[in-house]
Structures are given as C-alpha cells and as structure tokens.
Amino acid sequence: MNQDLLAALVPALPLMGAIILASLRRKLSTNAAGGLATALMAGAFVCSILLFMGFDATTGGRTVKLLDWIHVGSMEIPLALRIDALSLTMMLIVTGIGSLIHLYSIGYMHEDERAPTFFAQLNLFSFAMLMLVMGSNFLITFIGWEGVGLCSYLLIGFWYKTPEYNYAARKAFVMNRIGDVGMVLAMVLLFQRFGTLEYATIMDAATGFNDPMMIAATLFLFIGATGKSAQIPLFTWLPDAMAGPTPVSALIHAATMVTAGIFLTVRSSVLFELAPFTQDIILWIGTATALIAASIGLFQNDIKKVLAYSTVSQLGYMFVALGLGSYSAAMFHVTTHAFFKALLFLGAGSVIHALGGEQDIRKMGGLKGHIKITFLTFFIGTIAISGLPLMSGFFSKDLIMAFAFDRSPVLFALLLIGALMTTFYMFRLLFLVFYGKYRGNAHPHESPLSMTLPLMVLAVLSVVGGLLNLPHLFGGHEAMKHFLMSAADGISNESLELSHVTEWTLMGITTALVAVMIYIAYGRFAQKATLEGNEADMPFFKRLIAQRWRVDELYRALFEKPYAWLSTNLFSIAEQKVMVPIMNGVGAAANSLGDGFRRLQTGYVSFHMLAMLAGLILFLVITLMSN
C-alpha cells in the first residue's frame, strides 16, 4: 500500500472516529461506540506497523505533504507529516497502547451513559497526539501539542458535575498553556533564525550555530516541555488530573501526552546539543522533579495519586537522561514507562472498578485473592517500575543511572535515592492494596475480559520491553538506539565510557538496595489491618511532604489569589474609578462647553446685534492688520 496514504491514515482514522462518534453520540450504545473507536485505533496501529515494516532506516525518513497551510510572504508552513524512526516509535506507542486502552475503556465505561462522548474525545486525543508526533514541523507538532491539551481538559473534566474536577481540568489546561507560551516563543525565534519551521531543515542548518539565541530557543522549548511533561515548576496539574476516568490517566497522563516534552526535546536534540547550559538546567530540574515527586508519592493514600506522582518522578528521570544528552535512554524509558505505567494505571482502574469506585488505599487490602489477574499484572507492573533485574524498567532506568554515574557520582546517588523511594512507595501500594485483610465493605469482583486482556498484554510487554534496547552487557546491541539514530542526530553524540565492572557494580548496588526497600515495605505494610493516617500526628517535615510540600497552597497564594484580586480591583478601581471618569470627562467637557455657549444666547435682539457688530469690527480689523 502507498506509504503516503498509510501515513495520512494514521491520524485520519482516529479523527474520523472522533467526528462520527461526536455526531452520533446520542444514537450509539457504549459497545458500538467503544467498538468503533477501538477498531479505528487498531486500524491506525496496523497502519503504523505497516509503515514500520516498510520503513528503511538508512533513508532517514520521509515527509508527506498534505496541504499548504500557512503561506504568507516568505513563511511557508505546510500541513505535512514526517515518517522517521522517532515518529514511528511514538506512533507505535500511541496507537498500540492507545488501542489497548480503548479496548479497556469499553469495559470500564460500561456503566456511563456518556460513554460515546468519552470515546469521541479519546479518539480526538489520539488524533492530536499523532499529529504531535508525526508533524514535520514545529507548528504541526504544536497543533497536536494544543490539541492534546484540549482533550486532556475535556477528559479530566469528563465528569463535569463535580466542581473540583472542573477546577482540576482548568488547572491542567492553564498550566499547559503557560508551557505553550514557551513553545510559541521558541517557534517564533527559530522561525526568525532559520526562516522555516521544518524539523529536517532546521536540524541540518543548526549545526555550527552556537550562540545565546540557541540557548534561549532551547530554554523556551524546555519551558514548553515542563508544562506538558509536568516538571517543576509546572507539575502540580498532573496529580489533580487524576480526576478524569482511569483510562484517561493511563493513556494521557502516563503513556503518551506527558511524554510529549521528551519527544520534543529528542526531536530537536541537535539544538539542545548546541546549548549545554540548557542541558544542565534540564538535568537539575529533572533530578529535583524526580526526587520531590517520589517523596510525595511515599505518603499518598489515593491509589491514582500515588501513580500520578510516580509518573511525575519517572518523567523527571527521562529529563535527567535528556540533560545528560542520552536521548536514546530517554526514549527507551519513555517506551518502557508507557508499558508499565499504563499497566499500573489500568490495574488501578481495575481495582477501582472491582471496588465500585473506591480509590482510597486505606480502605483496600487483601484483594489478591479476589481479583487474581489484576493482582498478577499489577505485581508485574510494580516490579517493572521498581527496576528488578531483567524487567523492562531495570534496563531503561539503569541505562539512565549509568549515564548519570558517568557524569557525577553525586547525581547517581540522588537518582538512586529516587529509585529506592519509587520502589518503596510502589511496594507500599502493592502491599496495602493486595495483601493483608480487606478493610473496606464492597464486594470485589474481577473485571471483564475487555479490561483484563489489555492488562495481560501490557504485563507481557512490561516484562520483555527491555529487549527493545538490550545493552551490550547482556549480549544485545542497543537496537532502539541504533534505530533512532537516523532520526535524532543528538543520539550519535552519546557515549558511555564505563567499564563492564563498574556497570556490574552499579547494578549490584542498585538491586541490593531495591531488595532491602522491598523487605522494609513488606514488613511495614503487608500485614496491616488498619492504617495510621492522621497527618496531624506526623512530625513537621514528614507532614510537609505528606502535604505535597505545600506547593499547591504556595501557588494558590502566589498566583491564583493575587490574580483574582487583581481582576476584581482592576475592574472596580482602575476601570470604574479611573478610566470611566476620564471618558466621562470628555462628555462633561462637551457638556460644559455647550453650557457656556448656551449662556451667550440671551435671547435679546440687541445683544445679538451687538455681537454681530463686534464680529464685523473684529473681522475688519484682522483683515486690515494682515494687509
């Protein structure tokens, strides 16, 4: 089949689905709507696979121009798609995991009467995400970039009757928008510099440029990335975004949308390579995010919030990798993270489904006997994210840690602490949910096949995902890295100069400490019948962490309240007390002028005659004078 047509079909199929479902949302049943949406996503997945099969990495990639979009003066921005290793990787993730989550949603959303709308929005999201990864220039990516933001807003606020959910949705959108400001700035700057926004052209032309503008451009891009990928300081929206249905959390807020920032950085790796200063900033922001989010995760009691902070933390790891210049490691972690985090979220969704909507882990426990498939798959997800040997997370995270050690042992130590915290909170979650005695009062029941099937597939992927980029150490040859190299030039600059002994030692230390953490977690949480949960009893520092470092409160005090104050007072003071009176002054001036002239109209004939005489005399005098 024609490759161009296939490429166009990949985003077109979900878009079609979105349009059809949105217009027929009142007439379709959940199953029909879900079936259609899933089928279209699967179709897109098949197309992606076909594209992948027909793709020749040595050619570097192809651009499929669909339409002239914006053409003004010397600005030519076509609506074009780019098929290369990087976009193919992301397409496979998006459509593959997307199909599974669509399938899962059929079961999950079965009770909801607005399920067709849900599927329409999910399909629209997939379209936007595919535009994001397939765009051949920054502006097309930006279509997807904003599009996923919109869909994220819609899906977080899907249950619109709860005001908090709406607030969370707005927060997500606005924070993303703040990031978008950076993205637009980067785009106008790059356009000014290169006269085009095509990735291929810019990346070719960029080599050799090394100036403050490049640092500015990459910093702006990174600001965009922090918004979408929930990095400090724009990370607080992601935990709140858990207000959406769980499949949404899995697809948007774990597997795909939040990795857009990483994708964008890898896409423009050439630029980032030219701006070491930006790379350092990315590195430290990534590290800080990884640690802070992980620390918050230790104390969360909402099953989805734990996973959300875990996601933020893992995204931090990916940015660390980007900061270190190891783009392949970042993409590798994106891929494996997509597998196991989607798995964990879907597992959590299955738990919530089993308990009829309960999300508080203090009211769970002992579920492993009731929902076996969910337990098994969730267990696999947990050990994968914790990085137990030979799991997918093990390879990807260790690759990042190895790069970090190469840079600085301190960085390695920090990341290790983060990894240990990850292990701890994930196993805490696992033990509290599935071990011990059931503390709630619902009747747990296993989810239908449409939900468990994706779990099983993802579990398998979480286990074997590491094979995609098996390092030399284990007899592989870093397949993914080599595949991606044709698309992202930055990858060719990567170098890891650690001896095998060092690598083995690092792995050993990590694994040993992880095992210790699991043991501690088991001891503390596995057999709990009740749970201490009162924040007031905690020591100050612990309480601070449990209250998420009070970042939300800080932002509220720093931005939201002053903004509302400003809005109210600009209107009541600046507008009504200053601007309006000034305008009224013009009217008043006209009025009093008229009033003054009115007085001249005395109505007495003699006065008018006199005025006429005076005018005549004045006129004559002026005429005489001027002569």
Binding site: S606, F607, L610, L613, A614, L616, I617, L620, L624, N627
Partner: protein, 184 residues
Amino acid sequence: MLALFYILAALSVVSALIVVSARNPINSVIALVVCFLSIAGHYILLNAQFLAMVHVIVYTGAIMVLFLFVIMLLNLNTATEPMKSLGMRVAAVTGGGLLFITLAAAIRHGVTISATNDFDPGVGLVKTVGHVLFTEFLLPFEVSSVLFLSAIVGVVMLAKKETPSPHPLSDGEGLTPAELERRR
C-alpha cells in the same frame, strides 16, 4: 456743488441721528422722511434720476406711510418706550462709533478706487437703467413679483385674527408676558 453735497450730507446725518434718538416714534418717522428726502437729493446729485424718483415714491411715499399707519393703528405715538440699560446704550454708541472708525480706516489705508469704464454721465437716466433692467435682469425682475406675492400672502397670514387659543408665551392664567414682567 460741493457745498450742496455738504448741506445734503449734514441734513441726512442729523436726521438719522434724530431717528435714533427721538423719544416719540412720530418724530422718528418724520426725521426718517427728511433723511430719505436728503438721500433722494444725493441721487439727483449723482444724476441717478430713475432711482431718485423710485426712491421718493417707494420709500417716502409708501414705506414711511406704512410706518405712520402702523404707529397710528397701534397707538404708539407716545413716548412709552422704556430705556435700555446704560451699559447697552454705551455699548451701542461705542459699537457704532468703532464700526465707523474701522470702516473709515479701511478706505483710508486699504482701498484705491479708480473708474473702470469710460465716463458716461447718462447711466442714471431712466432710459439706460430701464434698458439694463429689461434685458439683462429681466428674469430677476419677473421673479421679484413672486417675492411680492409671497410677501402679500405672508402679511395676510400674519395679520389675520387668530381663533383664541392659549398663548404660547403666557403662563396659562391668561396673563401675557408683558403683564407678567410688569408684576415682577
């Protein structure tokens, strides 16, 4: 000749002053008649025979009689007119004086006048003026009859007795503004 001019000029200025200053309207009218007659004298001096005739007939003969009629009709022949405020009177004299000074200054300094046509003493004869009037100005002449027609219609309209209706200037109690002012 010059002396004749000066006499006529003095006569017209003095009678004009009397027009303005006389307390009794009848005296004003008489003074105005004298003034007009002296102006007719000026016309004769200028050899504008046609104008002199018309002037005496129209102004002195018709218009002034009309004035007299009205004064008689309205019984205005007594000096009942209240004087204006002192300021207004001073302003009137100053204004008139200034106007004259300015105009005089204008021709003293500004304008030099030289005749444009060859001298022809006969321009004011009935023959000459009549010729121009009935050739070049025939249409305006005919149209002026329309003016008179409309003046007649207007006068009839104005002078007709109205059906009694509440007067726009009165306060509703049947008092005219004049009475109102008197009461104030």
